[in-house]
């Protein structure tokens, strides 16, 4: 069972819709037993970093997630804001995140003034390493992005893929059981479906 963590931000329903289409069982929940008893977790999210951390705290999820992800090594996939919440710190609100991966979330400061922020639309990625997430996927995939902040990984070996928007940034990471995608696989047609299917495979 895959639990999509419901912390009142973003669009858990879109992810559930795609998993349902793939025939993968999932539930949208913030219930502690649901989270503890699932095989894997998805942390979705669109919105403000500070609001996200506050919601996780109010739902009592900070300690629980730490235990499940860091001690029990349960696979977790952060999507968009969910990915950023896995980092140590964000410039959006200037506060600490979950800190499951040695990375920081920074605001885009693009040299090219013609590039608009948020980075919104379809873009490509350059994969930097092997991962179960990208096994047997289509060639030349494209993914849908919407974000104003990007992730800076401290360890090069954690970088799964990068994307260029004026400059290269980390659009995907993996550190052991901890996965993050800056784009929205649930809104990226077959290209996103392949990644979600791979994540949910044992």
């Amino acid at each position: 069972m895959t639990t999509i963590i419901n912390y009142n931000l973003g669009n858990p329903k879109s992810i559930k819709n795609m998993l349902g289409y793939l025939g993968i069982d999932s539930r949208i929940s913030a219930n502690h037993n649901d989270i503890s008893s699932s095989d894997r977790l998805i942390l979705p999210g669109v919105g403000h970093f500070q609001h996200g951390m506050e919601q996780l705290e109010q739902l009592g999820l900070l300690e629980l997630l730490k235990k499940e992800v860091l001690e029990n090594k349960k696979p977790i996939l952060g999507i968009c804001l969910g990915m950023q919440l896995l980092t140590k710190y964000s410039e959006e609100g200037n506060l600490a995140g979950l800190g499951f991966i040695d990375a920081q979330t920074k605001k885009f400061e693009l040299q090219d003034a013609s590039l608009k922020v948020p980075h919104m639309g379809w873009n490509t990625v350059a994969f930097q390493k092997e991962s179960k997430l990208i096994q047997n996927i289509s060639e030349n995939p494209r993914y849908y992005f919407v974000h104003s902040y990007y992730i800076d990984c401290a360890n090069q070996e954690d970088i799964l893929c990068t994307t260029n928007y004026g400059e290269d940034f980390v659009s995907g990471f993996q550190h052991q059981n901890i996965f993050g995608l800056q784009f929205h696989p649930e809104k990226s047609h077959i290209f996103g479906m392949e990644l979600l299917a791979n994540f949910c495979k044992n």
Partner: protein
Amino acid sequence: MALQPRIIPVLLLHKGGLYKTKQFKNPSYVGDPINAVRIFNEKEVDELLILDIDCSKENKEPNYTLIEEIVSEAFMPVGYGGGISSLAVAQKVFQLGVEKVIINTALQNNQQLLADIGAIYGAQAVVASIDYKKGFVGGTKAYFTNGTKKSGHTPQELAIIAEKAGAGEIILNAIDREGTYRGFDINLLQQIVGLVQIPVVVSGGASNKADFDAAKQAGASGMAAGSMFVYQRPHNAVLISYPRNYFYL
């Protein structure tokens, strides 16, 4: 590098079915919206825009059941417009799996709504639709409520107002061109792109790839089209298509 512009089919809902209008008038039946979305899904469209043309005019809430059915199989970003009159309504629509809400009538009577939605979902989720046409007197003006109510503003003025109010994107919708295949209003598009920082999507009049190229050249972040994706010319027989060689990605 700048992103390639998005090509966005626009689907109009009317009486629960999929319709197409010409210059915002004379809705003619196209088919079942769920079926249309399934086809656009298979064709991997960049984004979909769904507008319910009854809600504001009849002062009713969105058809949540229909939106939910449509979105449950739409594996691309979806924008929805029609009857987004309060934060509570917007929240219900987002919860169904919609990414963006399109605001038009509230630009006239409730600008605070744009900021309120943006505070929770981010400005990128708030799209202002600037519908406009040329009058017999007084030049080109923006209209509200599905083109039925004339505003005192030019489209240029309303674009600036919308950005200030908290819109994260603008759809520039030429009422006179809608359904006519006359090409986009490139002149006004260029002006609006120069006036605001947020992305601008152009709509109304698309006929062929050359129209898309011209809009791209003029700085559009997206091009929306209805007729050319749901009709086959010359007789406007219903045929849903999305020619692969038209997109930029």
